[in-house]
Symmetry: C2
Subunit: 185 residues, 2 copies
DNA sequence: TCTAAGTGCGTACAAACGTACGCACTTTCG
DNA sequence: CGAAAGTGCGTACGTTTGTACGCACTTAGA
């Protein structure tokens, strides 16, 4: 029903597997992410994984790529829409405070990605590319040196917050961003 | 030779295993850290691991504890020795720039620790405790709110730098720290 | 309708895994 | 010296792992 299929139904299934992979990573960590757990989470047979992906490493690589693309996009959108520097400061503050609190799913996966990237060149390259894209987004509103400092904060603050029990102080974040924007040229 | 042993020679061997564990994690990542690899790296028999440690998770927990203790200590020492706030800013700058560049061994292991902590309560607690200790060290020289911002930078900048190809600009780091110290109260 | 090409998966297998446990060895105490 | 207590490890076992591969099924062209 729905007429004869004229193309392979790869894309949907592949994406479903990658989404499931991120879910497994978030729940169990890379060190306990296996073909079988992914297959269960995705509701697909085990053989489907080895058919669509060359190896487990490739699955992880593409799953992490999916995540970093989504984050880049959100990052870029938020900053592009800001009309002036102050609005950009607020946008960055929102990015930092989003997911606060508790350790958001995304932050958990990101930490796994960073760890894994140290042992997988493809994912390392994905990290680097994400770094550059986020810096470009910032460069629209801030001078180059301020970009570096702000970028470090965007990276560090939510990560730091992951171990914190109290919610993040939004005013403090905003003040810090503004201070950097004004003082660092 | 050396006279009769009156006590078990646990401590040395346990510590050697934990050091080897960190080495394996740095080289292969948690997801490929196994009893056998640790045993090889430490130069001890496989059975020795299961004798001294209840499980692989316990080995990882204690190894990460070793690391975070060492880092806390260094952190604390560097800040305690600073006579005034400006010196403290320089000390923090040194901490951030240390290991620059390339991805230092310690940063690699730290990333693994953060990832693993999301799936292991004991390690999560170690992260939290490390967070608090580092904040206490900062509190000697900076007001509470500035501590949070600086702490986030100490976390984020080296992490960020791990994917960067160019060396870190020390003056930029110092300027940023000073700006925060002066502006955030 | 028949056939060749191609898609997708169930299953099986060798390797690697965490861990249990028997046993050699050392030390202590009478 | 002899035996009990305790330390430390070699080895083996059942499980889980990543991956290969044969085979059912679908589609396209004649």
């Amino acid at each position: 029903m729905g007429g004869p299929r004229r193309v392979a139904n790869d894309p949907l299934r592949k994406q479903r597997i990658l989404d499931a992979t991120l879910a497994v990573i978030a729940e169990h960590g890379v060190h306990r992410t296996t073909h079988r757990r992914i297959a269960d989470a995705a509701g697909v047979p085990l053989g489907s994984l080895t058919y669509h992906f060359e190896s487990l490493d490739v699955i992880l690589e593409q799953a992490f790529q999916t995540l970093s693309d989504a984050m880049s996009e959100r990052y870029s959108t938020a900053l592009t829409e800001a009309p002036d520097q102050l609005a950009a400061c607020e946008a960055v503050t929102d990015l930092i405070c989003a997911g606060d609190y508790l350790p958001s799913r995304e932050m958990r996966i990101l930490l796994e990605m960073y760890g894994y990237a140290n042992h997988n060149p493809v994912v390392a390259e994905a990290c680097r590319s994400w770094l550059l894209r986020s810096r470009e987004s910032l460069a629209v509103h801030f001078p180059p040196r301020a970009c570096r400092a702000i970028d470090a904060l965007v990276e560090g603050w939510p990560m730091h917050q992951a171990w914190e029990r109290e919610p993040l102080d939004r005013d403090l974040v905003l003040s810090t961003i503004v201070a950097i924007a004004e003082r660092i040229r």
